[in-house]
């Protein structure tokens, strides 16, 4: 079925992973992604790389059904996570999104809320947790986001008082506080300086033992540093939809790419 993109070995927990089948996406009449197929294994980091405008972010936003929020946007094909059809008609987009966390390009904590409130906001709206446990959850999430030590003494200060890198880690904490199974990251370091970037990368590696992570990046070094698997997307001509060209273990994609386009891109000759 996925002959074009040979998959890594079939571990037992493979069923928990993300699988995207024949996914196409449009903005109005403009097709931005075509015939995307991909499997991101459970509790591994999968990177999507490719030149800008190739539809990486759109693929990500199709996974947690954020794409459909854009007026005129349309999706075709299937997205399954843990064997569940994300687009099943009886499934609420909101519950999909609370199961699939997302971290954005720019840190976007809620500016009127404190660090603590930002960390637990997802839990609060989900109303799954008694109030008494909120602090415990905040601590766990902030610790996993490797932020706890830096903020534990000023939890009730505004989130915007943090530095950019800290804010992004707070956003990661916010996303994992609701205990998702899959974490989508859309170029999470593109607005950060190298030191902050390094901390985030470290963090991604650290949480990969619990969460399935899909990260979009245009930084190939980042992909090699954090990911287990890599998919390369590109567009052939301006105006064409983006396609997945090659998918495989990160070491394979960067060490021995099969497709010439991938080879050209990862060796820095294009893009």
């Amino acid at each position: 079925m996925f002959a074009a993109h040979p998959l890594p070995g079939r571990e037992a927990d493979q069923v928990d992973g993300l699988s995207i089948d024949r996914l196409s996406a449009w903005f109005g009449r403009h097709k931005v992604v075509e015939d995307m197929r991909l499997r991101a294994p459970s509790r591994k980091v999968t990177a999507l790389i490719g030149p800008s405008g190739c539809g990486k972010s759109t693929v990500l936003r199709c996974v947690n059904r954020m794409h459909e929020l854009v007026p005129g946007a349309r999706v075709q094909g299937g997205v399954h996570f843990g064997g569940v059809d994300v687009y099943a008609p009886d499934l609420d987009a909101g519950s999909v999104r609370s199961e699939i966390g997302m971290v954005f390009q720019r840190p976007n904590p809620f500016p009127t809320k404190s660090i603590y409130e930002n960390a637990i906001i997802g839990v609060r709206i989900a109303r799954t947790t008694p109030r008494g446990r909120l602090m415990e959850i905040a601590e766990t999430a902030l610790s996993r986001a490797q932020l706890w030590d830096e903020v534990k003494d000023r939890l009730h200060k505004p989130a915007v008082s943090l530095s950019g890198g800290q804010q992004q880690r707070l956003c990661i904490a916010r996303a994992i506080a609701v205990d998702p199974s899959l974490l989508l990251m859309d170029e999470p370091c593109s607005a950060l300086d190298p030191i902050a970037t390094f901390k985030i990368e470290e963090l991604i590696r650290a949480i990969a033992d619990r969460y399935t992570v899909v990260i979009v990046t245009h930084n190939m070094h980042q992909a090699t540093r954090v990911s287990d698997y890599t998919g390369f997307m590109t567009i052939e001509n301006a105006g064409d939809p983006g396609r997945l060209v090659e998918f495989g273990a990160t070491t394979q994609i960067f060490g021995a790419p099969v497709n010439p386009a991938t080879e050209a891109y990862v060796s820095g000759r294009v893009g």
């Binding site: 954020m66 929020l69 909101g94 999104r97 976007n108 809620f110 709206i125």
Partner: protein, 337 residues
Amino acid sequence: MSPASAGGIAAIERHPLPIALRGERRRLGDSVFGAAVALTGGVVLLVLAAMVVFLVLQGLPAMRHYGFFSSITSQRWAPSEASATLSTPNPYGIVQFIYGTVLTSLIGMVIAVPLAVGAALVITDVAPRRLRRPLSSLVDLLAAVPSVVYGFWGLFALIPAIRPVVDFITSTLGTVPVIGVPFGGPFFGVSYFTAGLVLAIMILPIIAAVCREVFRSTPRNEKEAAVALGATRWEMIRIAVLPRARSGIVGASLIGLGRAVGETIAVTMVIGNAVLHINPSIFDQGATMSSVIANEFTEATEPFHLESLFVVGFWLLIVALVVNMLARVVVRRGVSL
């Protein structure tokens, strides 16, 4: 209003550019033009200052005669007694007008603010995109209907429509001792409540317009952050839109309040014009600062009557100035109306 162009020429000249030499005549024309526009700019300040000065000057005889604060410590407005009781307590107390203004504005705000905020949210975040512009234009249209038309409509359409409801309230809640007092009957149509209701409709579009601009300025990435956490639309509004807009909503409400405080003709037509004292029920007749001026101004022949109306005008101006200055400070800039 892109920040890049915010400064105009003055901003450009603060960063001097190589400018070609100019002729004397052109320079003269230039400075004349500059002086002229500076003068017109000054007119704005002049008008406002002149308003305060003239209202004070006109009201001064009454203020002097009765004492500066006497009018705002008494609630007896009886021009007919002015000549008879010059030495006895002040017949030009205006507390009941301040009360009327505050009460009607309050009723208006209580009704209009939630509706305006709701309408603005629908326009920015709930309605299908292609309906947002028409919806917003329609709500704006409410502000285009002249005050006198609202008053006329209030008198003939609104009063008969609310009469059964109010009669029900006065005959149930209104009969309860103590807490029923503000809802007591009988209801004769014109009342504080009717005026407040008309005010609500009149200030709703103003508050909605300001709120709309405020909500619209919510950064997209904050809304997405909420949605990505699985928030429903209402949760997204509550988390991402409303907290950020809090001061904007307060400012919008203050602008609406400023308008409600000063609204005259529509209120005059439906409030009942009872000037003597504060009536305890919201369904009773009353008067506001602006309505008493509209009613009595051109015929104030009794001693100190006209002067006292200027005193009312002065306090109305002060209230309006304070409310509007607060509003502008809170909203800061960027929203017209």
